[in-house]
Amino acid sequence: MKTIYIVLPAYNEEQAVGPVLRSLQREGYENLVVVDDGSTDKTAEIAAESGADVYRHAINRGLGGALGTGIRAALEKGADIIVTFDSDGQHNPKDIKRLIQPLQKGTADVVIGSRLVNPRGMPFIRRIGNRGLNIITYALFGVWTTDSQSGLRAFSRHAAEKIAIKTNRMEVSSEIIKEIGRNHLRLKEVPIRPIYTDYSLKHGQKHANGFKIVGKLVLERLRK
C-alpha cells in the first residue's frame, strides 16, 4: 500500500488553506504537508489547526523554494507518492485519484494534471501564453507537455529523489520539466478541471510573467 503525501506550498492563503485541507481530508488524504513560504498572515496557524504538518520559511522564497522544502519533508517521512497541490483552491481533490493512477500501476514516474486537454473556462489569454511556453519548453528540454505550468503534479519516490529543484520562483514548473528530461523519467498527463474563482484567478500565475520565465529558462539552459 503506497504512502501518499500531499505537498501544499502556501503564501498568505489564510482564507483558502483551511477549506482546501479539509476537502483533501474528506477524500481520505491524511498526510498533508504545508510549506508556509514566509506568510505574513495566519496561514501557518490555520494549516496546523486543520491537521497539516507545517514547515515555515522565515523568508518568502517563492514557489520553487517551497516545493523543494515540501518534497524533501515528504521524502524524509517515507512517502512513496508525492502530490503537489495548490493551496488557493484552484485544484480539485477528486482529481488526485486519477492523477496518481499511473504511479500506482508503475507506468509512469511523473504525472502532470493538464488543464489544456479540456480548456473550457480557462481565460483565452492564459491558454495562448501556455501554448507558447510549452513549445519553447519542448525546444529547450525535449519534453512535450500540454500544460507545463500546472501546479497539480505527482511524483514517485524515485522521481522525487532524482529531481533537483534549484529555481526559486514560478519558473520551477519549467525546471521540473527539464529535470524530467534530464533524468529520462516517464511522464504521463491526466486531464483535470481547475476551479476558477475570482480568488484563484487573482492568485494564479500572471501571464505577463511568461516573458520573464522564458528569459530565465534560456539562461538556465545556458548555465547547464
Partner: protein
C-alpha cells in the same frame, strides 16, 4: 585643458584613493586595487591624450578612436552584468538553502 579633462582627472584620483583605502582596510585584495587603479589611469590618460585611441582603432579597422572605446566599454559592461546576475542567482539559492534548514530545525 578643458573642464571634462579636469573633472575626470579629479574623479579618477578620487576613485583611486578610495580603492587604496579599501585595500588598506582589508576590504579589497591587492589584485582588485591594481585592476581598478589601472582602469582609472587608462581612463584619465585617454581623456588627456585622446589621440592615443587611434591605435586600437587602426587595429580593429574602425574609423574613430572613441568608437573603439565605446564598443569595448559596452562589451565589458555586458559581461560584468552577466557575472553580477549569476552571483545574485547563486546568493538567492543559498538563501533558500538556509531558509529550508531553518524550517526543518524549527520542527
Amino acid at each position: 585643458m578643458n573642464i571634462l579633462q579636469i573633472m575626470i582627472a579629479l574623479f579618477a584620483l578620487f576613485a583611486i584613493s578610495r580603492s587604496y583605502l579599501r585595500f588598506k582596510n582589508g576590504n579589497a585584495t591587492l589584485g582588485e586595487f591594481i585592476v581598478w587603479t589601472a582602469v582609472w589611469l587608462v581612463m584619465a590618460v585617454i581623456v588627456f591624450i585622446p589621440g592615443l585611441t587611434k591605435w586600437p582603432a587602426l587595429l580593429f579597422g574602425i574609423q574613430r578612436g572613441i568608437d573603439v572605446v565605446v564598443y569595448l566599454s559596452i562589451v565589458i559592461l555586458f559581461y560584468s552584468e552577466y557575472r553580477i546576475y549569476s552571483k545574485i542567482e547563486k546568493v538567492e539559492q543559498d538563501i533558500t538553502k538556509l531558509t529550508r534548514e531553518i524550517a526543518f530545525k524549527k520542527k
